[in-house]
């Protein structure tokens, strides 16, 4: 049975990755799973200089989901390259670094510094973080800026570049087309949905940052729809994510058109979720007579009349 996939030049032994920001810098889950079982580890958003992050409370639980406003807390690209990536390099699992910034130059700078870093097989460009004042989301909601960031990152690195799209747009297909045109090697979707919660007893917003990003099972239908629409319009491979808790959830994304998937919030609930998704996909393939995971990508599209 073949589980291996190629995500825009990134070779993964199976289609299951960890979603950025939910899996730290990779080693935190080592007591619970064998990290070598993962298709790829996508680490926390990395910026040119260190970021302290937002004031607490940073999360709020919502129906079948959660809001987060971490604020891209990270030690900065230099420490990531010098201290953190070397520790991951020995794992034997490909590492994808998620990058972010305030300006196009920021993105290019981080990309350049990561080029050639040990163990890094690709970059995921976060143009969709809803939790920082400048940057992030502004690039994620305007096709022209998104294309500009994509071009700058492509010029700064020889690594495959995945651009991570935001669901907080009217037309996600237009965004996907713009970054594809600008040279992205793959697309990932979705980042969190902008949301907020109010503490009725204290009569004020729950989060220190007021608004935050919604993730978890609550967002899954939105994410599956995004993958479905983009798959039809753009030929780039897609890394699908948003509320994947089980193998069946992951298969929804793959059948909609995702080449690979990422597991995020589920790690908090079940630290073995990633590995269980890999095992569940294998079992599904065995039970349903599939020998290659790639046969499943977009299969639901072909089962719809008129597609």
């Amino acid at each position: 049975m073949n589980l291996a996939v190629n995500l825009g030049g990134i070779k993964m032994k199976n289609p299951v990755a960890t979603a950025s920001g939910t899996f730290g810098f990779g080693l935190e889950y080592q007591p619970y799973i064998d990290l070598q079982r993962l298709g790829a580890i996508i680490v926390k958003g990395t910026t040119p200089s260190p970021r302290a992050g937002n004031p607490p409370p940073r999360i709020a639980e919502t129906p079948s989901g959660m809001l987060n406003a971490i604020g891209l807390q990270n030690p900065g690209v230099d420490r990531v390259v010098e201290e953190i990536l070397p520790r991951l390099a020995g794992l034997g699992t490909p590492v994808i670094v998620n990058i972010a910034g305030d300006t196009v130059e920021d993105y290019a700078l981080v990309a350049r510094k990561l080029d050639g870093a040990p163990g890094v097989v690709g970059l995921e460009v976060n143009i969709s973080c809803p939790n920082v004042k400048k940057g992030g989301i502004q690039f994620g909601s305007d096709p022209r800026s998104a294309a500009e960031v994509t071009r700058a990152v492509k010029a700064a690195t020889g690594l495959p570049v995945i651009v991570k799209l935001s669901p907080n747009v009217t037309d996600i297909v237009a965004m996907a087309e713009a970054v594809a045109e600008a040279g992205a090697d793959a697309l990932s979707m979705i980042n969190t949905l902008l949301g907020m919660a109010i503490d009725v007893d204290r009569r004020r917003p729950v989060l220190g940052n007021v608004t935050g990003g919604l993730s978890g099972p609550a967002v899954r239908p939105v994410a599956v729809r995004a993958v479905w629409q983009v798959y039809r319009a753009v030929s780039l491979p897609i890394l699908g994510m948003g509320g994947i808790m089980t193998a069946r959830d992951a298969l929804e994304f793959i059948l909609a058109g995702a080449t690979a998937v990422a597991v995020g919030t589920a790690n908090f609930v079940n630290p073995r979720a990633t590995v269980e998704v890999v095992e569940g996909i294998e079992q599904y393939m065995r039970e349903n007579g599939f020998t290659d995971i790639n046969e499943l990508t977009g299969l639901a599209q072909r089962n719809v009349a008129g597609c």
């Binding site: 889950y29 409370p57 940073r58 987060n68 807390q73 630290p271």
Partner: protein, 279 residues
């Protein structure tokens, strides 16, 4: 090392209305657990409520492989845990950095030089808990008693009223001197437990351990700074992963250079040196 276990609940009690004591079987967790550490518990099978709940380890019985947690029912998750008819529990742990016993002992020992000079500290230990904050202190006191230090340890317990002084009897049975305070005056000092602490600090103790609601801990930290007495506090922050991966549980601290930064309460804490926490 922390682990994920789905295991049998061996008993469930209601020590006072609105509180729940659960005991479960987890031998290796019991063996590894240190006072101040917590477990991260799933409240149900489904996706709502979604996140695990962090609850301190209240007691361990290493011989029989049993772990106890004591919690207050405050919302949906704790309500589900308290009444789930199910006989199984899904826990991750032990997690976090607990109370540093070695550190405390060094501080208690005048010759070590760790205690601030000129405090004339007596080497005594004070353990102060407010409300449900007493839950992890019970485990700490078990260990203190086990190392024969109950004689030089004073325990201060605060609660809303007499009926909620949850661990008083158990701690007295371990041989500790206990002073209590209640908000409504139904037992002991009428007022916050920090009033008792202010008095106790005049006898220059060597080290103070505290857990309780944030306003109480803020006062504890201020009192300790004023008295020049070292100590540790266990803080509560909202948590998602519980293992250091998501950065949800940021606690504002002052680092060695005096700069303010965030630390993760789940792995760098939940116990922090009293002087480090920025309130």
């Amino acid at each position: 090392m922390s682990q994920l276990v789905r295991t049998r609940i061996t008993s469930r009690e209601e020590p006072a209305p609105g509180f729940c004591l659960i005991e479960f079987y987890a031998p290796s967790l019991a063996r590894a657990a240190q006072p101040g550490q917590f477990v991260h518990i799933r409240c149900g099978e489904g996706s709502d409520p979604l996140l695990r709940r962090p609850i301190s380890i209240h007691a361990v019985n290493r011989r029989d492989g049993l772990v106890r947690i004591l919690f207050q029912v405050v919302g949906r998750g704790t309500a589900l845990l308290a009444r789930s008819g199910e006989g199984m529990i899904d826990v991750m742990g032990p997690l976090g950095r607990g109370f540093s016993r070695g550190q405390a002992c060094r501080n208690c020992n005048n010759s070590s030089g760790n205690a601030p000079a000129g405090t004339g500290n007596t080497g005594d230990i004070i353990v102060v808990g407010g409300g449900i904050g007493v839950a992890p202190l019970h485990f700490l006191l078990q260990e203190i008693a086990g190392s024969g230090e109950s004689g030089r340890t004073t325990v201060l317990l605060g609660a809303r009223s007499a009926g909620q002084l949850l661990i008083r009897e158990a701690v007295e049975k371990m041989g500790f001197v206990v002073h209590v305070a209640t908000d409504d005056g139904t037992a002991g000092h009428h007022g916050p437990v920090t009033g008792l602490l202010a008095n106790a600090l005049r006898r220059h103790p060597g080290f103070v351990y505290a857990c309780g609601p944030a306003p109480m801990l803020k006062t504890v930290c201020a009192l300790l700074a004023e008295a020049g007495v070292p100590g540790e506090v266990s803080v509560e922050e909202r948590m998602a992963c519980g293992v250091g991966a998501c950065l949800s549980c940021a606690c504002r601290v002052r680092d060695a250079g005096g700069r303010e930064t965030y630390r993760r309460a789940c792995v760098d804490g939940p116990v922090f040196p009293a002087g480090e926490v920025v309130w």
